[in-house]
Amino acid sequence: MILARKFYSSKMKGLLVLTALFVAVFGKKTFEGDQVLRITAKNEAQIFLLKELSEQEHLGLDFWREPVHESLPVDVYVPFHSLQAVRVFLRYNQIQYNVMIMDVQDLLDDEEREMVKYRTIPRSTDDFVYTAYHDLNSIYSFMDMLVAENSNLVSKIVIGQSYENRPLNVLKFSTGANRPGIWFDTGIHSREWVTQASGIWFAKKIVTDYGRDPVLTDILNNYDIFLEIVTNPDGFAYTHSRDRMWRKTRKPNSGSSCVGVDPNRNWDAGFGGGGSSSNPCTETYRGPSAHSEPEVKAIVDFVKSHGKLKAFVSIHSYSQMLLYPYGYTSTPAKDKAELHELARKAVSELQSLHNTAYTYGSVITTIYQADGITVDWTYEQGIKYSYTFELRDTGRYGFLLPADQIIPTAEETWLALMAIMEHTKNNPY
């Protein structure tokens, strides 16, 4: 087989497939034992013999390269039932040959396997299918490919481990050292699949637009962007394997048979209040203590050690809303006027693309009271531009948003994110 590979070319591959098809038409179902021989004739007499051989129709030979001249190799497809006869003929006439393809069926099988592999594993982020939902392994592979393809711009940081020891991966987009940063996270609630899918699209968008889009280029020349696509990998794996509606982490709760903590009630801002639950069996269970979840603690540690994040956007679905702090108190945020106006602008940008209607306002007035949420904590850390998105839709499909809406959702959301980033850049603090 190794020998055959040396002579094997992609043209031959095409010919092989064509032959296989052709032969299949004549009723052959399998190509087991069939071979392809490369014959080297040393004089005109041998060429003449080979021409005679080719006229033996009962042999079912197929000359890929016809006998023309002794300086040119003759390639012939020999069906199994004729192999013996052909080999005897060649030996008797002292015509040199070697076996190019030992078993055609084997080769077809290999090719089939290659094609299947090709279908499921993209070779580059240009091959990646953005219009479909992917599992955790595919998304982690995507991240590695993106970094490999854009190593001057993108790197991967592991900020911690999930409860079940999965890496918590963050993509860092950076064009220089010691920059202030902007953070996006998707998938903190695992069942909100359009968010992780949008995160993938955002990552690709950033590398595509850097150097092409003047606004993004200017942003990246001044700020780093951090993107955590699968913020709750344990939950995400669980939505694929066991329960599509799983929201929380997968950490067991002592004294209870119920698993998981709501990672968006586990932050140390109004922790323990009425907008979260003390019952481990509920979807908004706050956890035993603030930052008890490793998925949350990892981000807390990152934010504190970075010290220079200027915008923080945590992305959820569904409801079509853009929300700012607070969720735990009805006291308006100090920067409410500015946050409200920026939200209005971002929503206006978003709607301009596909006319998707969004509402906006503070968490507690617009959606519900929620205590211990991400953006309340980040806001209280001094990250002024702290926002939560609720992406498509408004309940028709809810969490089960069809894949053909991934790109429209990501595209429109990106416009809102750009508005937030641009405002952040133009209003340094």
Partner: protein, 277 residues
């Protein structure tokens, strides 16, 4: 644990009693002993005062959602299903015995006619009684309902499935990836109409229900010329983020509309759930 849960589910299938505990806790077997019931979310500011409400905020939206459920129970069909488009104006006032009455002006669209459909203007009074276990009361008026004509499609659907040999059976609509086949669309809409009876009944100022998925639909033997469908639906409540499972038996015909004959809350053991398809 798993055996106990299955046993519980089996037993619950036999019982056909009405609504479960309002807290929608999983059954005792599924949680550790001594866990307190989940607290209801607090209802700050808007809720405390009377007068005009911000239309984009949740108090107005929840009340409008209740009105929407009522609209769907009355006028929903396999080819007609209403969705809230926008709340234009809203106000609320306290009423007798701790109740609260909302006045609403809002628009709805018909999901069955896609994005091309007209928006209908509606007004409603939604009264949440002061007592814990009572359902809201809705007075509703919508303009030009008759404009949305689904009669021909509904009749064709009826003729197809009222045939004696018809035995539709399907699961997970939509599936994990959001797919709904053409054939299942009208069943999906019917499920939501039927679910609206439950969502309406279970609503309070602290809930905002939506149907997340049809876990299963199984056609039963037709009775009195009604299509009989058994649904298991997953409802999603926004404030608590809980997924609540209900089994229900509904009838439908073009003449009588949707009626819900039996409902049964089903426990979902949080740590032992069916895999997505």
């Amino acid at each position: 644990m798993k055996v106990f849960c299955s046993l519980w589910l089996l037993l619950s299938l036999v019982k056909l009693s009405p609504a479960p505990p309002a807290s929608q806790d999983p059954p005792f077997a599924c949680r550790g002993a001594g866990d307190p019931a989940p607290p209801q979310p607090e209802t700050p500011e808007d809720m405390a005062s009377s007068g005009d409400l911000e239309p984009t905020h949740y108090p107005a939206r929840r009340a409008a959602t209740v009105a929407l459920h009522q609209l769907n129970t009355r006028h929903g069909s396999p080819h007609r299903l209403f969705a809230l488009q926008e709340v234009h104006k809203a106000s609320a006032e306290d009423v007798a015995a701790g109740g609260r009455k909302y006045s609403l002006d809002f628009s709805v669209t018909d999901w069955a006619s896609g994005s091309a459909g007209p928006a209908l203007r509606c007004s409603a009074e939604v009264m949440f009684p002061g007592t814990e276990r009572s359902s809201p009361d809705v007075q509703l008026r919508c303009e030009a309902l008759q404009q949305i004509n689904s009669t021909a499609q509904d009749h064709a659907f009826y003729q197809k499935y009222i045939a004696p040999e018809s035995a539709v059976s399907a699961q997970h609509i939509p599936d994990s990836y959001g797919n709904v086949s053409e054939e299942m669309q009208p069943f999906w809409r019917l499920a939501r109409v039927a679910a609206s009876f439950i969502m309406l009944r279970e609503s309070s100022e602290n809930t905002e229900f939506n149907m997340a998925q049809v876990a299963s639909v199984t056609q039963q033997e037709s009775s009195e010329k009604q299509l009989m469908l058994e649904f298991v639906v997953l409802l999603h409540d926004l404030p608590s983020q809980e997924i609540v499972q209900w089994k229900l038996l509904a009838s439908w015909s073009p003449d009588r509309g949707v009626r819900v004959l039996q409902t049964e809350w089903q426990p979902r053991c949080p740590h032992d759930t069916k895999p997505p398809n």
